[in-house]
Symmetry: C2
Subunit: 500 residues, 2 copies
């Protein structure tokens, strides 16, 4: 295994560069002063370029071929065979992209993210537009370099969700959309049955922080191997399985963003903290796809955190922290409040029924941009039209519209569909978990998540990127991606809440 | 200038790697969770090794020679000629060091720093000792690789203070030591003339933070291009002239550490923020030596921050923030309190008279370690003996003794003398500033530091590493390093305070 060991040593250094870039990215969004942007963009460009150059070198190619021979006959799921198999796939893709494009993307997106922050604060899309134009042009170059058979979108989607095709996403969206729209309509007729005013009272931010920490500790977030900070847009990042960071945003007059945002990011973090230590500093360290990653965050946020059983345990604890604000609200009312369905403007705060509609509109717009059917400067108008079409609302400004998400400033076109896939996968996994852990509801009602976390760790987390999302889902749930469990869950949960 | 431009582009990427490592180092000391240490040590090792490998490549050597021809005849102080001249010196030195040693030092010191933190918290030197043994062995390897004519210490000192020799340091210490010891003795006979109990009252940490920020803003620290955080050991680091970070530590029952620590780090930060933007991403970005750097921090900490004029302006403002604690103390008493002379155990909290004695003892011990006259395990005893000899005190434990400083855990042997040199240089510069800005005392008494900052920026900061410390001091003060201005200042200031 001489060549394999050499390969691993080389890949470890490349991983170090990638993780160092992640530290710089985290710092940029948490603590970096405004003046740091220009230097940071160059630093990130250099780190990205070097990581890419080192990875696509002929030496790595030779080591990969030699390692493939050395590991021939080993178990498909062994660390060694998986490393060679997955890295070869990564290598073939990475070789298609010029290092200069990687550097340029890192540079441009670092500057764009800073400008997006300002544009968002000022509700001024025109500030951001020239950056986004450059990014779309670079993403098109990237897609052409990566190559695709049918749709340009395929090439970008593949980066986040291996093996997924644009046409598949369209088919799934076509399947779920009518039912979601129909359900939202029925609920709209009975708006009076759920009131969430209680969530919009005044909640001290430090107390929100403390309550969130109490909960994610019970979920299993390990603060010895991670931390929480504030950022404009919540995210999770990892510098190793032993250093995983989440961020949260707080609103003093709205409980949901910090609360469910923290659960959500914790779900991502548990995935990262749960990867087998043996995979650290290899390309296998991390989630196997963004859809799978999102299934973990949505599972903790929604299937656990927005369940009746969860609040049976935690609502009394929340009341202890906020006695004045919650005195007049009983458990059932609170449970319904956190599940109120209401078409709204901000994706990350959307309810479970309308959430995927937010994704569909972004998916449409991204396809149009990449296929040249929409220009960046037409985006705010197109966005608003889509919000009208999908949600029946009109954003009052671009901060609550086209500027709300960080993704495009980071060059992450093709990413959004993974949120919707994650919703579906989370329910598909949940079905299996319910079979495997028979007393799960009772455990949740008593604030115990050890068995759930252990299940996820064993079945999903520890494998890192060893299996493709398709392979993993098949192994774990016994079938390919299905929309049906998700639709059944949504239908049943909200029929109950709204007494339909 | 084709080759020169190519050289600059290559050096910019190396600078990016070095600065990225600095971000990781800052994070390690401010926010990194304990679990992050192992991965961080590998990341830092990789970044350091890559930066070193890229720098010592033959290509850089060829580009340097070609650039030397292209820039021949240009002004000695021009950006271009300086870049080639200084980088050639750096290059010749760096070529002597194996990249593996650079990586090993980064790896070992990252782990050692984490262990030092624990050892210090537990006052347990034996935890730290095996790490320090490795570090001393690596530093000896480094010194042998770098080479030296007379003393092994020369090789390490040179890294922080170019052109300075161990023998020179010894001569300077021999000159100042008797006078400092004599002065401290005279003061000891009149201890009753100054009381600093007022500094040891209870001071809210957030209010300390706010007051420090108010002051360093008036000094000129630019929070758009920098920030302040907490760390166990205060330090300053920069990721570009536009992103310079300081850290401070706070004690709720002792005002001095946060107060003067903040001024001190601000002095370093003004140097980094003041480097010409044209030198960003080149080897010229940064201070020309640690002695010069320390002259800036000590100037703001002591010559400004511990002056009567400074407190004439700021003491009423401090009283507004802490009315209860300061009601019974007048300006003159407070001024004397912050200048109280008292042999003490902690270097960073030492008064101006005894401070250099702390340095001398570390200098002795480092020399003994490097010359094989002292073993690491004998260090606590040797430390305590030196503290007895120089300061007449016995540390009650190693936290207040041999474990107090972070430097050795970071592999910074040869660094400590620069603190003493900085003290001397600060006064030598101050003499010149007093001549150039005739109404400086009046400006300070009214809280105005613009002219002082502008002077320092023009004469010192903007040049970065263009001139060696010897060249810079000669240009700015008109003479080589002298101890006499420093001794005169100390003698005069403290004779006044203690009425000797």
């Amino acid at each position: 295994m001489e060549k394999f060991d050499e390969l691993k040593a080389r890949l470890a250094e490349i991983s170090d560069l990638v993780r160092a870039a992640a530290v710089l990215g985290w710092d940029q969004q948490t603590y970096m002063p405004p003046g740091g942007t220009a230097a940071r963009s160059e630093q990130l460009a250099t780190l990205s370029k070097l990581a890419h150059q080192h990875f696509i070198s002929d030496e790595i190619g030779d080591l990969l071929e030699a390692s493939a021979q050395e590991t021939e006959g080993m178990d498909y799921g062994s660390d060694e065979a998986s490393l060679v198999r997955v890295t070869r796939r990564d290598y073939q893709k990475a070789r298609r992209v010029p290092s200069e494009l990687v550097a340029e993307l890192a540079r441009v997106t670092t500057l764009a993210t800073e400008t997006w922050t300002q544009a968002r604060a000022q509700a001024n899309f025109s500030l951001f537009a020239p950056h986004l134009e450059r990014i779309v042009a670079l993403e098109i170059r990237l897609a052409e370099a990566l190559g695709y058979d049918e749709r340009i979108y395929d090439a970008l989607l593949e980066q986040y969700e291996p093996e997924m095709k644009t046409a598949q996403v369209e088919a799934i969206f076509a399947e779920i959309k009518p039912q979601l729209v129909q359900l939202a309509r029925e609920i709209a007729e009975h708006q009076d049955r759920v009131d969430d005013a209680v969530l919009h009272r005044s909640y001290d931010e430090q107390a929100q922080w403390d309550f969130g920490v109490e909960i994610i500790k019970s979920f299993g977030f390990d603060f010895q191997r991670g931390r929480q900070d504030r950022s404009a847009h919540p995210f999770t990042t990892g510098f190793s399985p032993d250093d995983v960071r989440i961020t949260t945003r707080f609103e003093s007059d709205f409980l949901s963003p910090a609360l469910f945002g923290t659960f959500h990011e914790c779900g991502h973090a548990l995935y990262e903290q749960g990867v087998s230590p043996a995979l650290a500093r290899t390309p296998l360290d991390g989630g196997t796809s963004l859809g799978l990653h999102e299934s973990q965050s949505r599972l903790w946020e929604n299937l656990v955190g927005r369940s009746r059983g969860f609040w049976t345990f935690f609502y009394p604890r929340l009341q202890e922290r906020f006695p004045r604000q919650l005195a007049d609200t009983d458990l059932e009312s609170f449970y319904k409040a956190v599940n109120r369905v209401q078409p709204s403007l901000i994706r990350v705060e959307a309810d479970e029924v309308t959430y995927n509609l937010h994704i569909m509109l972004r998916f449409d717009l991204e396809n149009a941009l990449l296929e040249g059917k929409l220009r960046v400067k037409e985006l705010p108008q197109a966005w608003n039209a889509k919000v009208e079409e999908y949600l029946g609302l009109t954003p009052p400004d671009d901060t609550q519209g086209v500027l709300q998400d960080i993704h495009w400033s980071g060059g992450m076109l093709g990413y959004f569909p993974t949120y919707a896939l994650g919703n579906l996968i989370s329910v598909q996994l949940w079905e299996r978990i319910r079979q495997d852990i028979s007393d799960l509801p009772a455990q949740i009602e008593s604030g115990h998540f050890e068995a759930l976390r252990a299940w996820l760790r064993e079945k999903v987390h520890q494998h890192g990127r060893k299996f493709t999302p398709v392979e993993l889902l098949q192994r774990v749930s016994g079938s390919a991606l299905q929309a049906e469990p998700y639709l059944t869950y949504i239908q049943s949960k909200f029929s109950d809440i709204y007494d339909l």
